[in-house]
């Protein structure tokens, strides 16, 4: 029974934790301190709630408790400097009207949570630090979980988080939602961090540690939270649409041996209809807000082409090719260019694909990139140029580091006929 109560309290805390830290970070301007204060508040709850029951608004209770502790500590520190004095004064104003606290909480918590998200994804931090801090503060993942998910030693992650907190502290952040010109750049960083988390999980296959797929779930949750808090930001909905649509294919994208199934060969009955519906509606929202040409919305639109096609044969390749044309303008990377060539080969035949590839083959970034000769092999195969196709598949097989993919490419080489060597 006591265990049940404990667990229930810890669950409430888990739900409130990020918002609690957000509120406290704004008060103390120190995330590390905010985390400690939140943890202290949990300890108080664990002693008091079994007697009093869980309060009606547990988030407000925890925040009030933690604030009180923070203020006591500040008083003890005798207001060493003006910053503290000012914080103390502001806080006391709020403290004098506890009735207002409840209402203020309801209004501000979303805003405070956003402030914390923006802080964790601050451009002043390295990309790795942003990702680790976001998972720690917003996702509530332990450093051990994060280390496992990123196949990195725990000490490294711990260091990364400690240093990131220090950087944020010395930057004198107010943990507020950026306004004006800075906002777009800061939001782009938030969106990028969430997608990095998603991708890290998405790249994992079913045989691997379950923590990695859990990253996808966490990224989707963060994306949904962000969409709930920023209902007018098109790129947030583009990101959400992209994640929901990609996640809709989870069950269908791996074989039992862990190898990946290309989207056109997947069993579409296994696609998750609810996620597709959510993805398409998020995409519609992004487009309605004028964000159709954002990089995430464009990628979501590509995923939507597959989601909408009842069969692989019914895929709207001309539309996919056109979307890649637009995406290449927004994201001029060699990989997008390669995918664009593949899309055009599907829309207008292998000749078009080969013509577009010709412009990419000299690029240094694609020099040892297995998908390039693999795509070329496929175009040549479809054009009936089997001997050349076989050479490309072999070249791709020699380049890939993935064993399953190598088997697949060698099988394709063999299917080209001719003499079989090495």
């Amino acid at each position: 029974m006591a265990d049940d109560t404990h667990r229930a309290i810890e669950t409430v805390f888990r739900i409130e934790r990020a918002r609690l830290i957000a509120g406290l970070a704004r008060l103390t301007r120190d995330v590390g301190r905010a985390e400690e204060l939140a943890q202290d508040a949990l300890l108080v709850a664990l002693t008091e709630w079994p007697q009093t029951g869980v309060p009606r608004n547990p988030g407000a209770w925890l925040l009030t408790t933690a604030r009180r502790r923070a203020l006591d500590a500040l008083r003890h520190a005798r207001m060493r400097d003006r910053k503290h004095a000012e914080i103390l004064r502001q806080s006391q104003d709020a403290e004098d009207v506890p009735a207002q606290l409840d209402a203020a909480l309801d209004d501000d918590l979303g805003d405070e949570l956003l402030g914390l998200i923006f802080a964790a994804c601050h451009p002043r931090l390295s990309r790795e630090a942003r990702v680790a801090l976001t998972l720690r503060l917003l996702g509530g993942l332990s450093t051990e979980d994060i280390a496992r998910a990123f196949l990195t030693p725990e000490a490294t992650i711990q260091q990364r988080i400690v240093r990131a907190k220090r950087t944020l502290g010395s930057a004198g952040l107010r943990f507020e939602v950026p306004r004006g010109a800075a906002r777009a750049e800061r939001l782009a960083s938030v969106v990028e961090v969430i997608y990095l988390v998603f991708n890290e999980g998405y790249a994992a296959t079913s045989g691997e540690d379950l923590i990695r797929p859990a990253l996808c779930a966490e990224a989707q949750r963060l994306g949904r939270i962000l969409a709930g808090l920023l209902p007018d930001e098109p790129e947030v909905f583009g990101l959400l649409a992209l994640m929901e649509l990609q996640a809709s294919r989870f069950a269908a994208r791996t074989r039992r041996d862990g190898s990946l199934v290309p989207v056109t060969e997947q069993d579409r009955t296994r696609w998750d209809r609810l996620l597709i519906r959510r993805g398409l509606s998020a995409l519609a929202r992004a487009e309605a807000l004028g964000g159709a040409h954002g990089p995430y919305a464009l990628q979501a639109a590509l995923a939507a082409c597959h989601a909408r096609a009842p069969t692989a044969a019914a895929t709207d390749w001309p539309r996919i090719a056109a979307l890649y044309d637009t995406l290449l303008a927004a994201m001029p990377t060699p990989v997008v260019a390669l995918n664009r060539a593949i899309a055009h080969s599907m829309a207008s035949g292998p000749g078009k694909g080969l013509a577009l590839l010709a412009g990419l083959e000299g690029l240094p970034q694609l020099q040892d990139f297995a998908p390039l000769p693999a795509a070329k092999g496929d175009f040549l195969f479809r054009a009936g140029r089997l001997a050349e196709a076989r050479a490309c598949f072999r070249q791709a097989a020699a380049l890939t580091r993935n064993g399953k993919e190598r088997d697949f490419l060698l099988a394709r080489a063999a299917a080209c006929g001719g003499k079989n060597r090495g």
Binding site: T11, R14, I15, G228, L229, D267, R268, T269, R277, R278
Partner: protein, 139 residues
């Protein structure tokens, strides 16, 4: 994990008695919280079973009955689909829900089957069979 959270029917909901403005407001606020917490995937309210039909299966026979149905407390009046970390989290959120009905009422939380639930028990043969069946019903 995903759960379906089912609001069970009462005599009032089956009679189509509309909720008070106060309850509607509270429910809207709760739904907003669910969205902002990132757990809400879907949700709808259902019309009373006076608008429903039931298809009864017995061997090769199919018999259709019109609502309303009598076992009121077993009926569902509305549902959500939530993405949560575990059942504890789902319970904690349901506890925050305003009482959706006029009198005493029940809300059931049912975990959905997920891919992981099958990975241990399913043999390739069963999977192939399932894929075939899915194809036949036209997925």
């Amino acid at each position: 994990m995903r759960v379906m959270v089912m609001v069970k029917a009462t005599e009032d909901s089956e009679a189509g008695r509309p909720p008070t403005q106060e309850l509607m407001d509270a429910m809207m606020k709760f739904n907003e919280e669910l969205v902002k917490a990132g757990i809400m995937l879907a949700g709808d309210g259902l019309k009373p079973t006076s608008a429903a039909k039931r298809v009864h299966f017995d061997g090769a026979n199919r018999t259709v009955t019109d609502g309303p149905f009598t076992e009121t407390r077993e009926l569902v009046a509305g549902y959500w689909i939530w993405q949560v970390k575990d059942m504890d989290e789902a319970v904690a959120w349901v506890k925050r829900c305003p009482n959706p009905m006029f009198g005493p009422s029940d809300v059931d939380i049912r975990p959905l089957y997920e891919m992981e639930d099958f990975s241990e028990v399913l043999t390739p043969e069963i999977i192939a069979l399932e894929a075939k069946l899915r194809k036949e019903v036209g997925g």
